[in-house]
Each structure stands twice: as C-alpha cells, then as structure tokens.
C-alpha cells in the first residue's frame, strides 16, 4: 500500500517538474500527458472515480488535443537546449511561498476518511444524501447525483457558460465550425 502511494507521488512530482523544465513545446505536451495519467491514478486511489474520469477526459484528451492544434497552427520554436534555464531568485521566492502555505495549511487538514471533517458537522444532511440519493435520483454515486440532479440547474448554467465561450470563439475566428 505505502509502496504504491510513495512511488505514485514520486512519479507525479517527476512528471510535474519535467513539464516545467522542458524547453521543447511538443515534449512538454507529451510529458504533461504522463502527468495527467499519474493524477488520474491518484484520484482513483483516493476513491474519487468521477474526478479521475474528468482528469482523463480533460487532462489527457482535450488539453493535449487543444495544445497540439495550437502548435500545429502556429510555430514551434526550435531550440537545441533540452531544458529551461532555472532562474534562481524566482525559485527561491516561489519555493518560500509554497513552503509557507504548506506549513500554514497542511497541519489543519483532516486525515483521509476522518469523521471529524466539517462534512460531518451536520450529520443529518450528510446522512440524508447517503441514504436517500439512490431512491430519489436513481444514481448510485452520491457525488454524481449532487452534480447532475440536486444542483442540476447550476451544472446546466456551467454548460451554458462553456457553450457561450465556444460560440464567442467561433465569432472571433469568423468561422462556422471548429476545424
């Protein structure tokens, strides 16, 4: 169990660092796909399959395709350098900031599966969703049922926003379809 978790975290960190440091844009896109694969396994391991599916569809599918289309239609800067040069002062500032955030936030986080999280501060509401969801919506996964049924109008609004963004992009590009 811990072998799995540790090697997975090492893998994700390695892919993330490689994504940042690579100089060549195409290599970055490919390595970012590997990062997305690792994140999806992590989400699945933490028992969040819906998030893992979204990561699979958005991270590996749509983002890769979008970035590839972009470099296919623009130019890919040619370079001989394998990786980006590291700007030391920026690394120090960002590293110190992240360290500060970690020390400030991480000690207050609840362990995975803890029953003292704010979710359980109102046990009746939580219990209601757990017990009634299947009967009321017919969806087995409680999280999915909240997204698609209980706050369906909100999700519908999000879909409208994405649709509007797509339409405005087409208007700006003066095209009728995404080619």
């Amino acid at each position: 169990m811990s072998l799995f978790a540790y090697s997975l975290v090492i893998f994700i960190l390695a892919t993330a660092v490689a994504t940042v440091l690579f100089r060549d844009v195409l290599s970055v896109i490919i390595v970012f796909g590997a990062y997305s694969l690792g994140m999806a396994i992590l989400y699945t391991f933490l028992l969040a399959p819906d998030v893992a599916m979204t990561e699979a569809a958005i991270g590996a599918g749509v983002t890769t395709l979008l970035l590839l289309l972009t470099i296919a239609r623009t130019t890919r800067p040619t370079t001989d350098a394998l990786r980006e040069r590291i700007h030391v002062p920026a690394v120090v500032v960002v590293g110190a900031f992240v360290l500060l955030l970690c020390t400030a936030v991480l000690p207050d986080m609840y362990p995975v599966g803890s029953t003292s999280t704010p979710v359980w501060s109102n046990p009746d509401v939580t219990q209601h969703y757990i017990t009634e969801t299947y009967e009321q919506t017919g969806v087995e996964n409680a999280v999915t049922s909240v997204l698609a049924a209980y706050r369906g109008f909100d999700t519908f609004g999000e879909a409208v926003v994405v649709f509007a963004a797509g339409v405005s992009t087409l208007l700006v590009l003066k095209r009728e379809v995404f080619a």
Binding site: M1, L3, F4, S7, L8, I10, F11, A14, T15, A18, D24, L26, S27, I29, I30, V31, G33, A34, L37, G38, A40, I41, T44, F45, L47, P49, A52, M53, A56, A57, A60, G61, T64, L65, L68, L69, I71, A72, R76, L82, N141
Partner: protein, 93 residues
C-alpha cells in the same frame, strides 16, 4: 474490512507497476527524439490501465474499471493525435 492476502498481492503488484512507470518516464525525459517520448508516454498509458485494473481487484471496487476503460480509449486517441499533428506538414513538426 481487512484485505485478504490475494488483494494484497494485487496492491503490491500495482505498486511495482508504478515503480516501472518511473522507469518508463526516464525514457520520456531523456528522449532524445520526440518519437521516443511519444512511445514512452504511450506505454505509460497502457501501464496506467493495468494499474487501475489491479487497483480495482485489490481494493475490490469494480467501478475503477470504468476509469481504466476511458483511459484505454483516450491513450489511443492521444497517441494518434500526436502522431497525426506532428507529421502534418510533411515531416516531423
């Protein structure tokens, strides 16, 4: 709900596959050509599907297989897309 010894075997196997994923990622980083990287990430994707299937067996959660199926499809799509767009202009982009 203590895992049986067989489920532990699945979990340890999943862990070893993640260690192998790091080895594959070494190839993706070192390269030297884009084709090497593409192939490395493609194998990584197949590896991911195996890991997810082992997790499904080890943690006894059959819906993990749905994620594995989506990844199998998307991994194929990603490799095709990268292959297509990198040779579109007659030669490697």
């Amino acid at each position: 709900m203590t895992p049986t010894s067989l489920e532990n075997v699945f979990l340890v196997a999943a862990g070893l596959f993640v260690v192998l994923a790091i080895a594959m990622f070494y190839r993706a980083v070192v390269g030297p050509t884009t084709q090497d990287r593409l192939l490395a990430v493609n194998v990584l994707g197949t590896n991911t599907v195996v890991i997810l299937a082992l997790l499904a067996a080890g943690l006894d959660q059959s819906w993990f297989l749905d994620v594995a199926l989506i990844y199998a499809l998307l991994n194929f799509l990603m490799s095709i897309a990268i292959s297509k767009f990198t040779v579109e202009r007659g030669g490697v982009l």
